[in-house]
Every structure is written in structure tokens, then in C-alpha cells.
């Protein structure tokens, strides 16, 4: 069987890719995708820990992961709505061009 440690490494790599995307990407939709990757990395952690260590004692990990799905979906729905309204008013979705507020 694949050891738990592999899953944790996978999730850490996924988290770092997401983090990198959030920091370097200029397109707001790409930033949202980076955030999704980070959330999915956390989900892999939750499920892997549950399956390997705590499957016999509780269901916390699975329930947590399910709730993360729902919250992430809601967040993306709101995010795309906001990005759409920015596109309507400014005709851009590039984070660098959203710079009227500064100081």
C-alpha cells in the first residue's frame, strides 16, 4: 500500500503550486484557481490522515473535506460574480490594472 507520507508530500507540492500561482499570476481568475489548488491540497491532507490514521475512530476528516467542497464552491461563485462586475465596469480582470485604490 502507498504510504501516508506520499500523500502528504503530494499535498504539500500542490499547496506550494497554488501559493506560487496566487503570488505570481496577474489574472484574477488564475489567482482564484491557485486558491482552489490550496484548498484541494488541504482536502488531500484531511482525507489521507483520516484514511490512514483515524478511519476506525471518527469521521471528522471526511466531513471536513465535504464542507470544504461546499465552501470552496460558494467562494468561487461569489468570486466569479465579482470578477464579472469588474470586467463590466473596467473592462479588465488583470490584478495590476485594478489599482485605483492606493496610498
Amino acid at each position: 500500500m502507498i504510504p501516508l507520507y506520499w500523500f502528504l508530500v503530494l499535498s504539500a507540492i500542490l499547496f506550494c503550486i497554488g501559493l506560487y500561482a496566487v503570488i505570481t499570476r496577474r489574472n484574477t481568475i488564475a489567482i482564484l484557481m491557485g486558491i482552489e489548488l490550496m484548498l484541494n491540497a488541504a482536502n488531500i491532507n484531511l482525507i489521507a490522515f483520516w484514511r490512514y490514521l483515524y478511519a476506525g475512530s471518527n469521521l471528522d476528516g471526511v466531513i471536513f473535506a465535504l464542507i470544504v467542497f461546499a465552501a470552496a464552491a460558494a467562494e468561487v461563485a461569489v468570486g466569479l460574480g465579482l470578477i464579472l462586475s469588474a470586467y463590466r465596469s473596467k473592462e479588465t480582470i488583470v490584478a495590476n490594472d485594478l489599482d485605483t485604490l492606493k496610498g
Partner: protein
């Protein structure tokens, strides 16, 4: 399965009440009758007040804190106090929003305010990481929309997007921390996690890594270093009532949840490594907030930087790690709630009259509206920590807590920062009282409900500063039960 008891119902009075109010508002949204829309502000405020009264009378927690609803919710005084703060803050915000040109007549605004309040109340009572994450998201998602609710206004849309991206980013980091904590402890229950972590034999470095990720997520909620970038942009761009709500109620909920996690899941005590980490965050927040507030020309932006600094002061209390420190922090949160809501209410009114929130539009406010200028001065002096106002006593408490825990240097840094902060608050007062007004500005009559709500804030500021012992005693009990 444990039997269903009546205190399971009374523990959820604020949430249930807000849900009923939200349903009512949703029906009003669907009715699409403009006639109702002019009364929405006080309908919402009356709903919030009614729920607050019900929660105050029937929701009073028992002497001993208890875990209910499958150990998801903890009924204690801190959660009770936070639910009252959210309800009162929400009621005041609804009234103040009534004068806002764009959001005042929007039923969606009041609906989202109510939904966000449900999440914020739950943040204070969650005793489980799953529940806490859900509560944080329930509060955050409506707040993202609220920040960007003026969809024709470029500033508001931009602030909504920035708030969403920073919020999503920081909550993803926090969630990763939660997933590691679950992996190490084998449970998502916040109470008892310290022992579970110790018993698991996980290396301390791994626990600290997870804990720092959780802490990073919370610094976003309380707008402290290092996730403070969003605050100035969001406060300036978001509708003014939303900025007031974000800076007070949302911050208070973040602090209560943070204190709960720190004490029960991460084991903060006097004298351990947490004190240093929190003290550094606190000192950095105070300096960055105060120094960047000085050159600001927009009052909302200036108050945003001031709110970063205020998060730093409150963190002094949390960093002390003692019961005294936590009660000082909670006292500060209550004082900050009434003070900052008053400031944002007056900014909102000036914005309604002049269409601008630049500091220069406040020139000659004393000659136009002397009463309002006086009240804004009281609120700003309270933020600056001048006796006998609420901010002064709150600051004395947090500095005292730092000294008691042996962090005299942090108290000294706090005092230096209070002096810096006083400089830019006094600058606004100078503009109000000394500077010549730019031109003739029409002065509107203040609505009655609005005046009452502002009076509540100002009376709160004075009461919290003068007659402190009853509130302080209750808050001490709340902090002990965390």
C-alpha cells in the same frame, strides 16, 4: 445520543433569529415593491434589536460552560458577549446604512448583513475546527459581496475583488493549518486539542508550522500584520457602513475565535514561545498602521490604517497570555466597537452630504454642524486613548496586562504608538475646527433614528470609560470561561 434539551434551543437564539430575519428580508427582495425599501434600515435594525433582547434575556449561559450540539458549539460568556456585540453592531450598521446613497435602499445589503452576522455569531461559539471553518466562510462570503455591492462603482468593485482574493488566500492557508492540526491531533475538537497534540508525540516544529498557518489566516480576519494589505483598499472602496462593520464586528469575532484556538488548541500560556510571536505581530501592526496613517488624505483610508494599529493594541492583551490580558483584549474590542461605528457613521453622513470622504471635506465642519463635529471629536479622542473615554481605559488595561506578564517593552512600544496615533487624530480635529470650509455645502437634517443610533455609540464610549467596573467584571468572567 444525548437527549434534546431546552438549552440546546436557547443556545441558538441569535442564529435562529437572524435566519428568520434573513428569510423575511429575502421575501422583501422578491416583492420588488419600492414602498418597502425606504423602511428597510429600521426594519432590519428593529429585527436585530429584538433578537439581541431575546438573546440577552433567554440566551444567558449557565455558570459552567457547556458543549452542545454534538460538541460543535460551546455555550459560555465569551460567545454570549460576542453574539450581543454582533447583534448591536449589526443594528447600528443597518441604521447608519439608511443614509447611504447607494446601499441604503438595497434590500440585498440588509440581507447580506444579516447572513454575515450569522457566521460572525457562530465564530464566537464554535468549539470544533469544522464548525469554525464553516462559520468563518459563512461570515466571509457575504462580506465579500457587501464590499463590492456597488457594482457600478469602480472603487467598490475593486475593493470587493481584493477582499475576496486576500480572504480566499488567507482562509486557504488557515485551512491547510487546520488539516495538519487534525492530522496530528486526530480530532477536530478545539477543546482538548492541546493534550491530544502532546500525547501524539508530533515534533514541535511540525505543530508550530501548522499553528503559524492558522495564525496567518486569523491575522487576515483581524487585519494585523502580515495579512493587513487588504484593509486600506477595502475600507476606502467599500460602502462606508460595510467598512464600519468590517472594522468592528468582524474584527471582534476574529479575535474571540483566535483567543479560543490559542488557549485551547495551541496552548498559549504566559512565558511560552507564543507570547513572542504574538508580541512581534502586535508591535509590527502598531508601527505600520500608525506610521502609514499619517500621510493619508482620505479619512476612511486613514481610519483603515488606524484599525491595523488598533488590532496591534488588542494583540498586546492577547500576547500577554493571562486571563487579565484576554479580558483587557475583550474590553478593548467592546470599546472599539462603539467608537469606530460612531466614526464611520459620521463619515457616512458627511459622504452623504458632500459625496466625498477626503479629510479636506471636513474643513469647517464645526461651523456647519457643531454637534456632529463635537461627536466626531469625542470618538477620535477615544480612538486616541484620551481619558475619560472608552479608548483610554481599554488601553490602560492592555498595557497593564503586558506589564503584568513581564513584557514592559511591549507596553512602552504601545505608549509610543498612542502618541503617534494622537498626532493624526488631532490633525483631523484641526481640519474640522480651524480650517476654512472650501465652499458652501448644503446641510441636511439628521434623521431621528440615525441620531438615536449615534447617541447609543457616544453614550457607550463615555460609559465604557467612566463606569467601567460592571462591564469589566462581566468581561473578566467571559475571558475566564474561554
Amino acid at each position: 445520543m444525548p437527549a434534546f434539551t431546552s438549552d440546546m434551543l436557547t443556545s441558538l437564539i441569535p442564529e435562529t433569529g437572524l435566519l428568520v430575519l434573513a428569510t423575511l428580508l429575502l421575501v422583501l427582495v422578491l416583492v420588488k415593491n419600492e414602498k418597502f425599501y425606504i423602511h428597510l434600515d429600521w426594519i432590519t435594525a428593529a429585527g436585530f434589536t429584538l433578537i439581541a433582547v431575546l438573546a440577552f434575556i433567554f440566551g444567558r449561559p449557565a455558570e459552567e460552560p457547556r458543549l452542545l450540539w454534538g460538541e460543535m458549539i460551546r455555550v459560555d460568556r465569551a460567545g454570549y458577549l460576542l453574539s450581543l456585540m454582533v447583534l448591536v453592531g449589526g443594528a447600528l450598521t443597518a441604521v447608519f446604512a439608511g443614509t447611504d446613497v447607494t446601499v441604503g435602499k438595497k434590500p440585498e445589503f440588509y440581507l447580506l448583513l444579516t447572513l454575515a452576522s450569522i457566521g460572525l455569531v457562530l465564530m464566537g461559539t464554535s468549539a470544533n475546527l469544522i464548525m469554525l471553518y464553516l462559520a468563518i466562510e459563512t461570515a466571509a462570503i457575504p462580506l465579500y459581496v457587501l464590499a463590492g455591492i456597488k457594482y457600478r462603482d469602480a472603487w467598490s468593485v475593486e475593493s470587493g475583488i481584493k477582499y475576496l482574493l486576500f480572504g480566499g488566500f488567507s482562509s486557504a492557508i488557515m485551512l491547510y493549518g487546520f488539516s495538519l492540526l487534525y492530522g496530528f491531533a486526530g480530532t477536530t475538537k478545539i477543546y482538548g486539542m492541546v493534550d491530544a497534540l502532546r500525547a501524539s508525540g508530533t515534533p514541535l516544529a511540525a505543530i508550530i508550522l501548522a499553528a503559524i498557518m492558522v495564525l496567518a489566516g486569523f491575522t487576515f480576519k483581524i487585519s494585523a500584520i502580515p495579512f493587513h494589505f487588504w484593509a486600506p483598499d477595502v475600507y476606502q472602496g467599500a460602502p462606508t457602513p460595510v467598512a464600519g462593520f468590517l472594522s468592528t464586528v468582524s474584527k471582534a469575532a476574529g479575535f474571540i475565535a483566535l483567543a479560543r484556538i490559542l488557549i485551547n488548541a495551541l496552548g498559549v500560556e504566559s512565558g511560552n514561545v507564543w507570547m513572542i510571536i504574538l508580541a512581534v505581530i502586535s508591535a509590527a501592526s502598531m508601527f505600520i498602521g500608525n506610521l502609514l496613517a499619517i500621510p493619508q488624505k482620505n479619512l476612511k483610508r486613514m481610519i483603515a490604517y488606524s484599525s491595523i494599529a488598533q488590532a496591534g493594541y488588542i494583540l498586546i492583551g492577547v500576547a500577554s497570555g493571562s486571563e487579565f490580558g484576554f479580558s483587557a483584549a475583550i474590553y478593548y474590542l467592546v470599546a472599539y466597537l462603539v467608537t469606530n461605528l460612531a466614526v464611520f457613521a459620521i463619515i457616512n453622513w458627511i459622504e452623504y452630504e458632500t459625496g466625498s470622504t477626503e479629510i479636506s471635506t471636513f474643513a469647517g465642519l464645526n461651523r456647519r454642524e457643531p454637534g456632529l463635529a463635537l461627536l466626531l471629536m469625542i470618538a477620535l479622542l477615544s480612538l486616541g486613548g484620551i481619558p475619560p473615554l472608552a479608548g483610554f481605559f481599554a488601553k490602560v488595561l492592555v498595557f497593564g496586562a503586558a506589564i503584568q506578564s513581564g513584557m514592559v517593552w511591549l507596553a512602552i512600544l504601545g505608549i509610543i504608538n498612542s502618541v503617534i496615533a494622537l498626532y493624526y487624530y488631532l490633525r483631523v480635529m484641526k481640519v474640522m475646527y480651524v480650517d476654512e470650509p472650501a465652499g458652501s455645502i448644503k446641510v441636511d437634517k439628521l434623521p431621528v433614528v440615525w441620531t438615536v443610533a449615534l447617541a447609543v455609540c457616544i453614550i457607550g464610549i463615555v460609559l465604557l470609560g467612566v463606569v467601567y467596573s460592571p462591564w469589566y467584571n462581566f468581561i473578566t468572567l467571559a475571558a475566564m470561561g474561554l
